[in-house]
């Protein structure tokens, strides 16, 4: 069985021969100086790449893997390293199944995994052709051949192969943990590939996210602050065509009808203006996609009204709609609902709710929101503009803990 190796170098290779399977020696410790140096060097290379400022998600990634940030992550997790009778060990070989479109996401989980001393094999979708990801591949490979980083050649293996059950089964059997991005369908597919009994599954299932805006707050701030929030919202929603799990699908507007209308029109107008300059997805396709979605939603009795244009489209939810997990066609098609107070949001929280981004909530409203997270739904509550910011605490996991083994010693 052959696979295409993309990193540490580009070549076709026998599956059993990929470097991850070379021996069982784990040379680097958790937060090893050499690992931190490796990622810090990668960060510098990314930031020095021509035209990188046009790819904000790459800039964000680079900042995340800088030495300063990695050290502060270590600091925040000091309690893990300082427990009496506990020594942290790598978990072993980690098999990552990477998402096809949300390009940079898997690099974060890869970084966390290497930081904890694990060896990694990543299945990259054959359809992943985004330029940003090609940059990552190229820079990784440039680094891995340098003598000081050669040691990581068996720690970072990126491979690609078509739908091949034998390969997926083999990798599932041989790994100590699987990180499965890609939602319910992918997870169900991989559940059919039996892992070894002790293999841990870290899964990122289908999620839905929402934004909450206090209309009176938004209507009250000055024009440049409104622009500022609209830009933040734009980044959350449009960066991955509104298809990132953390990108808002529904926007809840807190306020009375007048405040709601005012806020909605101002936000829709601003988003359209920003999109005209910055959003590159083909507008004819968006127009077509959204009109179809709107007809479908209308005939399913989900929506009652349309606001905005084909760059920023808001579909007002029917008051009787009970579907808490609505996903739109993406590309800036938002469901919108007016709430009189934050308490009314409770009814819309489902077990699939991942991220709630907020704008203009006061302390009491935030408290109420935190209270709603005491249950089965909501994994993140972050200010507007931070929806896509990766954190090592994700979907309810502390990945640092999930990707290590605690050895009890007395």
């Amino acid at each position: 069985m052959n696979v295409q190796l993309l990193s540490p170098e580009n070549k076709t290779i026998e599956l059993q021969c990929i470097p991850v399977f070379n021996g069982n020696e784990y040379m680097v410790r958790a937060f090893d100086e050499r690992t931190i140096h490796f990622f810090d060097t990668l960060a510098k290379k990314i930031l020095a790449h021509p035209g990188i400022n046009r790819l904000p998600e790459m800039v964000a990634l680079a900042f995340w893997i800088r030495k300063a940030n990695l050290n502060s992550i270590k600091e925040e997790n000091n309690y893990l390293f300082k427990q009496t009778h506990v020594q942290l060990s790598p978990l072993g070989k980690i098999f990552h199944v990477c998402p096809a479109n949300v390009d940079t996401m898997f690099v974060y989980s890869l970084a966390v995994s290497v930081l904890m001393g694990n060896k990694n094999v990543l299945r990259i979708s054959e359809r992943m052709d985004a330029p940003q990801i090609q940059i990552v591949f190229q820079l990784l490979n440039e680094l891995l051949v340098q003598p000081e980083f050669e040691l990581f050649q068996s720690y970072i293996n990126l491979i690609s192969y078509g739908h091949n059950d034998s390969i997926s089964s083999y990798l599932s059997q041989k790994s100590n943990a699987r990180i499965i991005w890609g939602g319910d369908a992918t997870i169900n597919t991989f559940r059919d590939f039996k892992p070894a009994p002790r293999t841990r599954d870290i899964i990122f299932a289908d999620r839905v996210s929402a934004a909450v805006i206090d209309c009176n707050y938004f209507n009250g701030i000055n024009e440049s602050d409104k622009d500022f929030f609209a830009k933040k919202f734009f980044n959350d929603a449009y960066t991955f065509d509104q298809k990132g799990c953390s990108s808002p699908q529904t926007v809840y507007f807190i306020g009375d009808k007048i405040a709601f209308d005012n806020c909605l029109y101002q936000l829709a107008g601003r988003l359209s203006e920003i999109s005209k300059g910055k959003y590159e997805t083909d507008i004819s396709s968006l127009a077509s996609l959204k009109l179809n979605q709107m007809v479908d939603d209308t005939l399913a009795d989900i929506i009652t009204e349309k606001v905005g244009d084909n760059y920023s489209t808001f579909a007002l939810l029917d008051k009787d709609n009970i579907d808490k997990n609505l996903h739109s066609c993406g590309g800036g098609y938002f469901y919108a609902k007016q709430l009189l107070n934050i308490g009314e949001l409770k009814e819309m929280i489902s077990v699939k709710m991942q991220t709630i981004t907020y704008c203009g909530l006061n302390e009491n409203q935030l408290e109420a929101l935190k209270e709603m997270a005491q249950g089965e739904g909501i994994d993140r509550i972050v200010p507007i503009g931070e929806a896509l910011n990766f954190h090592y605490i994700w979907d309810g996991y502390n990945l640092l803990e999930s990707l290590s083994r605690k050895v009890f010693i007395k």
Binding site: T186, T189, S285, N292, N310
Partner: protein, 355 residues
């Protein structure tokens, strides 16, 4: 009124004559569908703000063509359905379903004959069909392809299909037909790419003279574009090989069968009296001025059994002029320059799409 606009010579109405007549007919259709189709009414209310004032054709709501795939859109009771037309989608793809009653079916064949007779005359000619009889295998429901052939068959006699029941090309049938009618007026019809494959590229033993033949073809350029064949190449190749010059491409969709847009002498698609196009700005669906590209909306006075009188296609086109075509035809003419990419936006939940 509808019979009037059908019976007046096609391509004879100027903008000032056509617009009020067509608007009036379309408003009648709108009111009919609004009353008869709950789905149409609902779409108008939610997506088009239940707009009441409609002073021009561009004020009508438009239904995206894909809606006919996902929803049963009709304005007649089930017992009135005469037949259901389906688009020829590949296996697994959703197909459009168009519900016809007797009235609409008759209107459509009448309309089609008005357009075709305009360029073909009224004499029935020997007809060569670059397709297979097998497209009619199901009587209750047949594809747009079958409907097209059936609609045009009335203009021909000695109907000859060059593909057999298994859609295999039969070269002997082709040669025999061309031999029999060599140099005489004949009518050839087929899908654009099939005409290319089975007429132009067929290896016949002999050179045939098609200078008196008329070719009408349709179906889009996607497959030929992949082979780097455009309309000019297509026309020149057929002229060089057979002396064939009477070539008419047409643009039309299953959702508005009968309302076809025939190529005029400049190679642009021309609106008949009872149909029109409006080019929509993709940002806000406002009407584009002539010369500006956008999504193509097609309107037709014919559809009564289903709400297909005003549709938004996924094609991108440009209006090239109105009432000033060089062959003297009145009405708007346009060209298709592309298609909105149907690519669905991909997300996190898409790493391992099952086969």
């Amino acid at each position: 009124m509808l019979s009037e606009i059908l019976n007046i010579e096609q391509y004879a109405l100027s903008k000032a004559e056509k617009q009020p007549m067509l608007l009036d007919l379309l408003l009648q259709r709108h009111q009919w569908h609004y009353a008869q189709s709950e789905a149409y009414r609902h779409i108008h209310q939610v997506v088009f703000d239940d707009r009441l004032m409609m002073d021009s054709i561009s004020d009508l709501p438009f239904i995206p063509v894909s809606s006919f795939k996902n929803h049963e859109l009709k304005s007649i009771p089930d017992e009135e359905v005469l037949k259901v037309l389906t688009s020829s989608g590949t296996t697994g793809q959703a197909v459009s379903k168009i519900y016809l009653n007797k009235e609409t079916a008759q209107l459509q064949s009448l309309a089609l004959s008005k357009i075709i007779s305009h360029v073909m005359g009224k004499t029935r000619l020997p007809m060569l069909i670059i397709d297979s009889k097998a497209v009619f295998s199901n009587k209750q429901s047949y594809s747009a392809r079958g409907a097209g052939i059936l609609g045009l068959s009335v203009f021909g006699k000695d109907h000859t299909y060059v593909l057999d029941e298994h859609f295999e090309f039969d070269e002997e049938v082709l040669s025999a037909f061309l031999e029999k009618y060599n140099g005489q007026p004949i009518f050839i019809f087929g899908f654009t790419f099939m005409v290319w494959l089975y007429l132009f590229q067929a290896k016949t033993n002999k050179q045939y003279d098609l200078s008196k033949a008329t070719l009408i073809h349709s179906g889009g350029w996607k497959k030929l574009t992949e082979m780097a064949v455009d309309n000019a190449t297509f026309r020149k190749a057929l002229q060089d090989k057979f002396g064939l010059t009477h070539i008419y491409n047409f643009y039309g969709m299953i959702e508005q069968i009968g309302s076809v847009f025939l190529e005029n002498s400049e190679g642009y698609l021309h609106c008949p009296n009872f149909a029109d196009v409006i080019i929509r700005n993709p940002i806000d669906f406002s009407v584009q001025p002539h010369g500006e590209p956008g999504l193509v909306q097609v309107v037709s006075a014919l559809p009564q059994s289903y709400p297909g009188h005003s549709l938004l296609t996924e094609d991108i086109g440009v209006v090239m002029g109105e009432d000033d075509a060089s062959n003297g035809w009145q009405g708007k003419y346009f060209k298709i320059i592309g298609r909105a990419k149907k690519a669905e936006l991909r997300g996190c939940s898409d790493t391992f799409k099952s086969r």
